[in-house]
Amino acid sequence: MISGAAGRSALGIRLGGSVWLFLGPALLLMLAAYLAPLFDTTIVSLHPNRPTGIDRDSWTIANYLRLLDTYYGEVLLRTLRVSLLITLFSVLLAYPVGVWLAGLGPRGQAWAILVYMSPWFVNAVVKSFGWTLILGNRGLVNRGLQSLGLIDSPLRLMLNETGIVIGLLPGHFLFVLLPLWAALKGLDGNLRWAAMTLGARPWQVFLRVTVPLTLPALLAGAIINFTMNMAAFAAPALLGGTRTRVLSFIAYQVNLEELNWPFGGALAVAMLVVTLGFVMVAQGLTRGGLGGGRR
């Protein structure tokens, strides 16, 4: 994105040293209100917690060793499992929706996007409440299926991982859909025409032309989607229930209920490392393994 633009700007009058006047304010803000807090939390996670508060004079890795406990291991695995599942479903659902969207007129597209954006207008807690009315033991789905005689006892659709996936998917789906939609719109129609006139069937065109050309956008969206899945905590707390806790909720409890900031900091750092690790692997895939990743 940048490199192309910068190439053009070389034609113009160079900014020179005064470029930092433009970048300075944002940079200063990010240093003071973003990097400094994250750095501080990392430092805090290396101090022991005492009944009187954080002991800033001694250092320890005990907070990280505590993460190796099987309880937290299970929570981490569950969080990853749920997050990856949601990303997988989002990616699978994105093409049918994106292709359909791109085929609509401008007005239709605007309205459809508005609808797909709508989960973002409602507080996560309230939305989860709506889901409870649908997914609960006496919810709409179970009542419907029971009155149709399809099931005897209610299906367990919430208070487990299923509930978290169902509840988070619609909102986080948008972050895969938007970049894919943009990429599909930008796709050169002539390419598909060319492939068709050469005798390719529509599904062959889709698999051989459309997918490879839009894959980078899809992956970029999938990364943000995955991050959001890892971070969500209000909806998982309500739809997953007390037995199905995810990492971010544990972090909430440790920081705001137990008030153990050093351990809470260690949880935050662990989450950051795991998330960024996955993001880097995904980006590596885009650049390396898939060849056509560069735009």
Binding site: A33, T242, L256, E257, L259
Partner: protein, 350 residues
């Protein structure tokens, strides 16, 4: 670089970056006319904000009260601890147990009759220590959805804790988890019923483990528990009698019984050390425990209030002496370990 120097350096850097934002947006704080009251939402919110008592407080004293609601006792105290060095709230009220642990951390300042005359009217049990008073309390109750009971032809529960173990309740129970105050009280109660106590908690955990597979969900708040009882995905739980009564009043098909031995759950209040508005805090606490407000709480919410002038208490204060007393020091010391055991050995059972 020592922690102090680093801190002041960061403060400078941070402050500089914020200057622009501050210039435009610094909220004009009303000059010490507001009293911040950190406690639950729920019935307190209803009392102050919907039933007009907040306005009455303003009429009586000239101060306004701003409620800072949290969902659970531990969250209330955690919020107070978070601002220990730079307090933003004045009066704090929570369950007795977390309140005492907050007091151990030096959160609260001494309060006495000189500043708060109404303290003289409180029962002697309400004077917990120089920093804390009990405002009111509740008794624990078994709550059940009577429509589900009628439908399944279950006998109404007797006033005994052992009723929770009835085999037909498997798959219909909602109990608060041990990391909440009521869950903790439940654990102690179950231990006692089965021959243990807070000093010998084993029997309590054995009972919870027996119950665990039949539990639909461990809701952390009463609002959540109410949701499960209301839509019929659960039928039996335990919580405070006043919460149960409030729920029934809202039209949820629930009834409750208060099992013997009675388990009294106290609510404590105090004033933050270095509260931003100490005078307002005293005025508020004095008003809050006054005969008028406490009579309303007793009549409207069924609280057992500690003001001896209140005549409409659902249970006479004298009965408190017969109620189970809890060794709060032991409970607070063991709490973290019990939560660990609960999370690892009880919660995964289904």
């Amino acid at each position: 670089m020592g922690p102090i120097r680093r801190s002041s350096f960061l403060r400078l850097a941070f402050g500089a970056a914020l200057a622009a934002a501050a210039a435009g947006g610094a909220a004009a704080q009303p000059a010490n006319k507001t009293v911040y009251f950190l406690t639950w939402g729920g019935t307190v919110q209803q009392t102050l904000e919907k039933e007009g008592w907040g306005k009455k407080f303003t009429e009586a004293t000239g101060y306004t009260v701003q409620l800072v609601p949290k969902a659970t006792g531990p969250e209330i105290i955690a919020a107070a601890v978070a601002q220990k060095d730079n307090p933003q709230v004045d009066v704090v009220q929570s369950d007795l147990l977390p309140f005492l642990s907050g007091d151990d951390q030096g959160l609260f300042r001494p309060i006495d009759v000189k500043d708060i005359p109404n303290i003289a009217k409180l029962a002697s049990v309400a004077r917990i220590n120089p920093n804390a008073i009990m405002t009111y309390g509740d008794v624990m109750a078994i709550i059940y959805n009577h429509e589900v009971f009628a439908q399944k032809k279950w006998a109404e529960p007797k006033a005994e804790w052992g009723e929770l173990m009835r085999p037909e309740f498997r798959g219909s129970l909602v109990l608060p988890p041990v990391n909440t105050t009521y869950g903790l009280y439940g654990l102690i109660t179950l231990a006692r019923v089965h021959g243990g106590s807070e000093h010998e908690i084993g029997p309590g955990f054995d009972a919870l483990k027996k119950l665990a597979p039949g539990i639909v969900e461990w809701p952390t708040t009463f609002a959540r528990m109410g949701q499960f009882l209301q839509d019929g995905s659960a039928a039996v739980g335990f919580y405070s009698s006043s919460s149960a009564a409030e729920m029934a009043r809202r039209g949820v098909p629930v009834k409750y019984v208060v099992p013997k031995p009675l388990f009294f759950t106290g609510t404590a209040a105090g004033i933050m050390k270095n509260a931003p508005n100490p005078e307002g805090a005293k005025a508020f606490l004095n008003w809050w425990i006054s005969k008028e407000v406490m009579t309303f709480r007793a009549e409207r919410y069924g609280n057992v209030t500690m003001n001896t002038e209140v005549t409409s208490n659902p249970i006479p204060i004298a009965a408190l002496n017969e109620m189970q007393r809890v060794d709060y020091a032991t409970v607070n010391a063991r709490r973290a370990d019990w939560i660990k055991v609960f999370e690892r050995e009880v919660l995964p059972l289904k």
